[in-house]
């Protein structure tokens, strides 16, 4: 038995290493390119650049005449944070309501959101653009937040699936104790759903952070660009800068992940379930 366990461990680690390599390989290429001195991806010697330097990163943050990366970064941060907070709130609220309340039209809403998601999204882009011109929200970062947050509840199904697995018995017990539905939500269910909130927040942050279609459509001024749009607008010869920018774009999400990872896997404490 012990031997089998050991073998199991070895295989597990081998698999893990394989997975790590598969995921790291393409990223590593970007990272290496961002440190390459020549700045061209074609002057690589096989897989590695000929010489390394930090110059690209320095340039990325100091040479802002054409490409104001620090500014774009702050714009992205603002949009992503705003949409993350608003979007997470709306999504969780929707998912919870759909999971816990039984009301007229609930199944209709569930079915119609399912159907709405099937519509090719870019087809509606023209409408979104015109709508924003009518509301005067072009060239406003707030406009973006509004759209991202408003669209977020469409993906409530995942979260609803989570709430469906939290025993309703807890709710009923609380109700007998005289708690209102609002209290049950805030005091009991929210604390229990930390993992899904964290997951939602992470996705709600990542989507605006890496999207370039919508900001490209709604932000005309280069000073208002988000990082994704900015990177797409880089000149073709600026490859190292593109790579450095890409590495940096990934950083906040990795940091966010390390801050939140504990909450995500913690799960529901066993006591709560039994209660």
């Amino acid at each position: 038995m012990l031997k089998r366990d050991k073998l199991d461990t070895v295989i597990t680690y081998m698999l893990l290493i394989l997975v790590a390599i598969i995921f790291l390989f393409p990223c590593l290429y970007l990272i290496l390119a961002s440190f390459s001195k020549s700045g061209s991806i074609y002057s690589f010697k096989g897989f590695f650049p000929k010489s390394y330097s930090l110059q690209t990163f320095v340039k990325l943050f100091t040479d802002t005449r054409m490409y104001n990366y620090p500014r774009w970064f702050m714009n992205s941060l603002f949009v992503a944070t705003g949409s993350c907070i608003l979007g997470t709130f709306l999504t969780i609220l929707t998912a919870y309501t759909m999971s816990r309340f039984d009301f007229k039209g609930r199944k209709t809403i569930m079915k119609s959101t399912m159907v709405l998601g099937m519509f090719p999204s870019f087809m509606g882009m023209i409408a979104v653009y015109l709508l924003m011109t009518q509301f005067g929200l072009i060239n406003h970062l707030w406009g973006l937040i509004l759209i991202y947050a408003a669209g977020a509840p469409m993906g409530y199904l995942t979260q609803k699936g989570f709430f469906d697995t939290i025993p309703k018995a807890i709710d009923e017990a609380a109700k007998i104790d005289g708690a209102t539905n609002f209290q049950i939500f805030t005091k009991i269910n929210l604390p229990l759903s930390k993992p899904i909130i964290v997951y939602t927040a992470l996705t709600a942050f990542t989507w605006p952070w890496s999207d370039f279609i919508l900001p490209k459509l709604l932000l005309k001024e280069k000073n208002l660009y988000t990082v994704a749009v900015g990177l797409m607008s880089l000149d073709e010869t600026q490859f190292a800068r593109f790579a450095a920018g890409s590495v940096f774009i990934a950083l906040p999400i990795v940091i966010l992940y390390f801050c939140l990872v504990k909450n995500m896997v913690e799960g529901i404490s066993e006591g709560a379930i039994k209660g």
Binding site: S38, S40, Y42, T133, I138, K220, E221, E236, T237, F239
Partner: protein, 481 residues
């Protein structure tokens, strides 16, 4: 890889763009109207003009020079020009009507003429421009449109865009004067005929397998179409206005396709996708490639890339050395027979697809007169000369071209001689790009297929391929009509 996005974006903008304008010019002698009624000469006070320039001009510092000079001169009148700070390919038809567009735009003729269709840019009083007589009529015609029986001109041509041959002088063989100058005119043969370029490419690759002679992605229709045009191909009939007649397979254009195939065979597989388009700057700089095709506005990029490759000498020296070694010139001639191994010296000129870039004024500007003032200022001899010097572009004004001399003058002449074919301005032109690119990829791939799998064995196969491509385009145009 970055370039891939750019390529995609370019491609989509090219679909809209590259749409030249060659209106029926029979009545071009009609008296031109003096531009839109809004140009009443009364300068607006305390206005800021948003100018959308191209990225190279901003990057190389020319644009700053231009607006600084303008602002200095007109500060007293309360007129100020600023960078519109927008993407250079922003679509005026989508921004302008809602009040988000720039006042003055610098763009290629195809883009501006697309704007003219919906009257998004204003007709200009062109006679008032300083260099009116110095700009050739073919350049003006690219900006002419006829509406309600009147002829309007909607842009002030600034420079000419056409594929140019870039090569490294220092990479010529040391003994080129003896071995590569048959006619002893002191110009290397490979820059005079495609046959020699072909021969030289084979030789260079043979000597060192990691090195190549001429390299250029075959799949790029903008650069490859010229080979079809040279042998009698054209895009649309009736001077590029009749989409029901697609002429990319006309006359001997199959010979052009065969030439492209031969050229592909002396490159590497890189010519099949757009690898070369992206890496040409650094590969020319490090000496892997001897020559490539690109447009004049990329000169400064090639130059700075070459400068970077010179290490261990001062910046000034590197600049000087790079300027000496990097040469931009017009395209070599083609053999009439359409076979690059043919040495019969029966040559025809190589035609290219091209465009003219110009300033135009948005119809949605609040300060048309001040904008016109800016355009007039920016197209003055002095500013255009500075522009050509700083960016290495080819001016559309004769006097400026002469004063800059060299290649710029040659490009100007090519435009004047109609060797630069401007693309049609009809919307159907957007249908030609992907089918032609698919066909070009197929012929570029052929040299790298096993003998048994080769698709193009003789001239008939090319004809068939071209016919098929034209059929595809035709179907798309008719179906979507």
């Amino acid at each position: 890889m970055k370039k891939k996005v750019v390529a995609i974006m370019l491609l989509s903008s090219m679909m809209l763009s590259l749409v030249g304008c060659s209106k029926d010019n029979a009545e071009a002698n009609n008296k031109k109207t003096s531009g839109a009624a809004v140009f009443d000469g009364k300068l607006e006070k305390n206005v800021t003009i948003h100018v959308l320039e191209n990225d190279t001009a901003i990057d190389k510092g020319y644009f700053k020079k231009l607006i600084d000079a303008f602002n200095k001169e007109y500060k007293s009148k309360g007129i100020k020009a600023v960078d519109a700070n927008m993407d250079q390919y922003s679509d005026l038809t989508k921004d302008g009507p809602y009040g988000y567009g720039p006042d003055v735009i610098y763009q290629a003729n195809d883009v501006i003429m697309k704007y003219v269709k919906g009257k998004h840019v204003l007709p200009l009083p062109v006679e008032e421009i300083e260099g009116y007589k110095e700009i050739p009529s073919s350049a003006w015609k690219a900006y002419e449109t006829k509406m309600d029986g009147k002829t309007y001109t909607c842009g002030i041509p600034v420079n000419v865009q056409a594929p140019m041959l870039y090569y490294r002088k220092d990479l010529l063989p040391a003994d080129w004067k003896e071995k590569w100058d048959d006619n002893k005119n002191n110009v290397p043969d490979m820059l005079e005929t495609w046959q020699s370029m072909y021969k030289f490419s084979i030789q260079r690759h043979k000597e060192d397998a990691s090195k190549y002679g001429y390299m250029k992605s075959i799949s790029d229709m903008y650069f490859s179409s010229g080979f079809l045009f040279s042998y009698g191909g054209y895009v649309f009939g009736k001077n590029n206005t009749d989409p029901s007649d697609i002429g990319l397979n006309a006359k001997d254009s199959a010979k052009g396709a065969s030439v492209l195939n031969q050229l592909a065979s002396v490159m590497s597989e890189d010519c099949i996708d757009d690898t070369i388009t992206t890496n040409a700057y650094s590969k020319l700089a490090d000496g892997t490639y001897f020559a490539t095709l690109s447009t004049p506005d990329m000169y400064s990029t090639f130059l700075s890339e070459l400068e970077k490759s010179y290490t261990g000498i001062s910046k000034n020296e590197a600049e000087k050395k790079a300027k000496e070694n990097l040469v931009m010139t017009t395209l070599p001639t083609l053999p009439k027979s359409g076979d690059l191994t043919d040495n019969s010296k029966n040559e025809i000129p190589t035609k290219t697809m091209g465009g003219v870039n110009a300033y135009a004024i948005s119809s949605y500007t609040k300060a048309p007169n001040a904008s016109l003032l800016f355009v007039k200022f920016a197209t003055k001899f002095k500013m255009l000369k500075t522009r050509a010097d700083m960016l290495g572009i080819a001016p559309a004004r004769k006097d400026v071209a002469k004063s800059v001399g060299g290649t710029s003058e040659k490009i100007y002449e090519n435009l004047d001689k109609n060797n630069i074919v401007l693309m049609p301005s009809v919307t159907s032109v957007s249908q030609i790009w992907t089918p032609s690119q698919t066909f070009l990829i197929d012929i570029a791939k052929d040299p790298y297929r096993k003998d048994a799998e080769k698709k193009y064995k003789d001239i008939n196969d090319y004809s068939k391929g071209l016919d098929e491509m034209c059929k595809q385009i035709d179907e798309a145009i008719k179906t979507l009509k």
